[in-house]
Symmetry: C2
Subunit: 340 residues, 2 copies
């Protein structure tokens, strides 16, 4: 079933291994240029793959891990897989999926290009399978619901598969069910506008872009029936950290009695973090807010508070969609159970 | 008291009449160029003043009314005040303050430049007095509160006085009280980033810019104590229409038990509109969302829902600050009473 459904979808691949293991190369879609230009980087050396990850030409936790695994093949071609692992590991210092993927490559008994490429393809397939499983569990929630809302980018571009929070929308579309998605533009970096709107419309899904501040009004006016967001990290009690704006979106859904779901692979759970209070929120540069590309949008000398993420408390979350199934409160118990 | 306090403030004047009535001209700060450039338009003919209003070089209901009244002086200089009124009336077809100000000029028994200029100055003073009165009533709410939040632009630039929602912040600052303002950037047109952040920081007020989606997180993290927003139109039951994003902000304040106030002159009440359900929300062009100046931020061919305003229901509003005093629920009664 997964394969036949997937074949009906137009997915925007973030990368592709071109050619055979010994002489091939890694082609990466440069997401920084989207949606205006579809340019690709041809990585023929490890440092080019590391640079693509570092500069966010490829982004999104699962996609980074897979891209790094393919990057190792470039090292293997020169008999330098271990050096490749070290170089790629340094490209994004806090990405869990990156370390996990590189660790799988490191543990291989044989580091010839064919073996490394085979393992990279397995990692890619693993992420794709996770996406499909999340999509299937989420699809059950859509039932007669067709008016949905999401934030940030959680699609093919950041997973290589059908994504996480948008995976149910991809599957609903593949099944020919009516589905209408409102995508928040997601300031300051506009991943919703640049990436989600682009990849969903490219896949033929009915998508409408809105400003983040318009979400509450849109939920009311357009009678939104379900909201699904991704998560970067989920605490043991279900509190979920995701792109800033998610918390405000969950509050708006809550007030309108619209179910708000988190969709994320089980690798996003962090049992060592009891609740959202213990999650440190990264603050990013003020220029992300005061300029759009090179165009100023605010006085340059202004103070800016630019948190990259926020935490949605568990009481606002109707359920968490993982590849292992859908879980409901009490999250402390259901999360511990599903991770066993 | 108003005058002495106002003299302590650095206000960013949206316009100024230069010279005498017979040979003078209207100088308008071109707000479209802010915050990067402080350029002024010198309007020496009625059509130049009308063009400045039409193209949003000057904006904000009270400021438009006053600018139009000064524009009439340019007509009076040529003995063509009535023609000037007609031309200026057509510049912004739905601005109530514009019609009100032009009507005051029309009703003058004498249309010589001195008389028209005198009336324009009276209208200007009336708006300034309203702002000060709103500021004073709002100041009482601040008491020991110093961490505030606001949305869009409601300051000197759009009123000529100390504004509406930000008026209490201006007065607190003039009195030497600590006041810290978080300003939402207010997508899509970024009036908060371009105008509010600019004019508050220029006045020496501690202002921090945030993305609209970060408001809920900021209320929690920065322990915001009060939220004040303006209003474009207030229904008889207190439901308030304001810039899109206000409703989401009110929901976030509500959830955190932070009082949310509306500040607006009594001319914003519309007793003919029973509730927010009867307020038609203007939808604006998709390009406001998909491009920032000339820089694309989303695919050009994407569907966009771009409501310019939203309605905050009365149950989320702790009080409405008007020049006639602060009113509380039940709004149907208190609004009718204050308008008598």
């Amino acid at each position: 079933m997964p394969t036949s459904l997937e074949s009906k979808l137009i997915l925007s691949a973030p990368f592709k291994w071109m050619g055979d293991a010994k002489t091939g190369f890694l082609k990466i879609l440069d997401q920084r240029e989207l949606p205006q230009k579809e340019t690709h980087l041809e990585c023929r050396a490890v440092k080019e793959a590391a640079f693509a990850i570092k500069t966010l030409a490829v982004r999104g936790a699962p996609a980074i891990g897979v891209a790094a695994a393919f990057g190792c093949v470039l090292g293997a071609q020169r008999g330098k897989t271990k050096e490749a692992i070290e170089e790629l590991k340094a490209s994004r210092p806090t990405a869990v999926n990156l370390f996990w993927a590189l660790n799988r490559i490191r543990k291989l008994s044989n580091h010839d290009p064919e073996t490394v490429l085979q393992e990279a393809r397995k990692i890619e397939q693993y992420e794709k399978d996770n996406c499909l499983a999340i999509g299937r569990h989420g699809l059950a929630l859509l039932k007669n619901k067709s008016r949905a809302m999401t934030i940030c980018n959680t699609g093919a571009l950041c997973t290589g598969g059908i994504g996480t929070a948008v995976a149910p929308f991809f599957l609903a579309h593949a099944e020919g069910r009516p589905i209408q998605v409102y995508a928040l533009e997601t300031r300051p970096l506009l991943q919703g506008a640049r990436l989600t709107a682009w990849e969903l419309s490219r896949a033929g899904i009915d998508v409408t872009l809105i400003c983040d501040g318009a979400a509450a009004h849109t939920i009311r006016e357009k009678k939104i029936e379900i909201v699904i967001a991704g998560a970067d990290r989920i605490a043991a009690n279900g509190d979920s950290a995701n792109k800033v704006g998610t918390y405000a979106l969950a509050l708006a859904a809550h007030y309108h009695k619209v179910p708000f779901y988190i969709a994320a692979p089980s690798s996003s759970f962090d049992l060592a973090t009891p609740s959202g209070d213990q999650i440190t929120i990264e603050e990013r540069s003020k220029e992300e807010v005061t300029r759009w590309k090179n165009t100023p949008a605010a006085p340059d000398n202004i103070s800016v508070f630019n948190p990259a993420f926020d935490v949605t408390p568990n009481n606002l979350i109707a359920g968490i969609i993982t590849e292992k199934g859908l879980i409901h409160p009490p999250y402390k118990e259901t999360i511990a159970k599903i991770l066993k």
